[in-house]
Symmetry: C2
Subunit: 146 residues, 2 copies
DNA sequence: TATTGTTATACTCTATAACTATA
DNA sequence: TATAGTTATAGAGTATAACAATA
């Protein structure tokens, strides 16, 4: 592209749904990260808090299974949340620990949930309920089936 | 979750379109990576090859702009592709270089394109043309607008 | 002054392997 | 034997800062 001020390249990937999925996901994750950073959380940490909030003392293995995070990667995440004073561990048996939100964790989890919902509204609010639930179930079908 | 063999946690994120987008994208990228690994390419490298294939000697800055890859990150990618014997650089002016596919690069780019199309078909082939193009344009609207 | 390309660096996410302790 | 949790480590991808050379 030798001499063009506005060099618009031909992009054969532009019509590909897989490429669009990747670009959309990556932009939205970046935007969500910015918002959650105000709570001192990453999207992954926020997801973990919301999952603990909605369940009765899940173990970190439980959470990892649901969110597709490996045990080895859950360890630093949970100890980080504990260090921040957002969760506590209570022994369930000799090897596993149920995770609970602390008082402050309850507040932060609720704020994280609000942030995630607001984020969704700002991006998907234009779609009517039918289109949005169609999109949701189509995307879910891509990874939960097979 | 004290005593459940099948511990199905409640997941409030499950109905969230943003969460589904993330999960779908991450699974599909992992699958695409596996397929492209047989060509010795990452998804990013494959995208770059396809973009060079479709354009007349784009510079790495051109490509970075289209694919949203920063200059600093394009440098090791292009030198990697050059080291693999897939691309060559030709000076356009004193500071920028047009990227060309080598003979072998042409073959690999074509194979990469085929792989990406086959990957899409295996995941989106169930959708009819209308549903697929609606999904494509909805996703594109999420990141290219605003 | 702005742009191209490079190097150095760091952070996140993800992956495997190996280990201890417990069921 | 299988599971829970941990540590170490490595590879992507992405981010900023700083620099030299060129437009």
């Amino acid at each position: 592209m030798t001499d063009q001020t506005i060099s618009t390249l031909r992009n054969p990937l532009d019509t590909r749904v897989g490429y669009q999925l990747r670009r959309a996901s990556s932009l939205l994750m970046a935007r969500l990260s910015e918002r959650l950073a105000q709570l001192g959380l990453s999207p992954t940490e926020a997801s973990i808090l919301v999952l603990i909030e909605a369940n009765d003392a899940p173990t970190q293995s439980d959470i990892g299974r649901v969110l597709a995070i490996k045990r080895a990667n859950m360890a630093p995440l949970t100890s980080g949340l504990e260090r921040k004073g957002l969760i506590q561990r209570e022994a369930v048996d000799g090897r596993s620990h149920g995770l609970h939100l602390t008082e402050r964790g309850v507040e932060v989890a609720s704020a994280a949930r609000d942030t995630m919902i607001a984020h969704e509204e700002s991006h998907f609010g234009i779609l009517d309920d039918e289109a949005r639930s169609l999109l949701t179930s189509t995307l879910k079908g891509l990874w939960s089936e097979r």
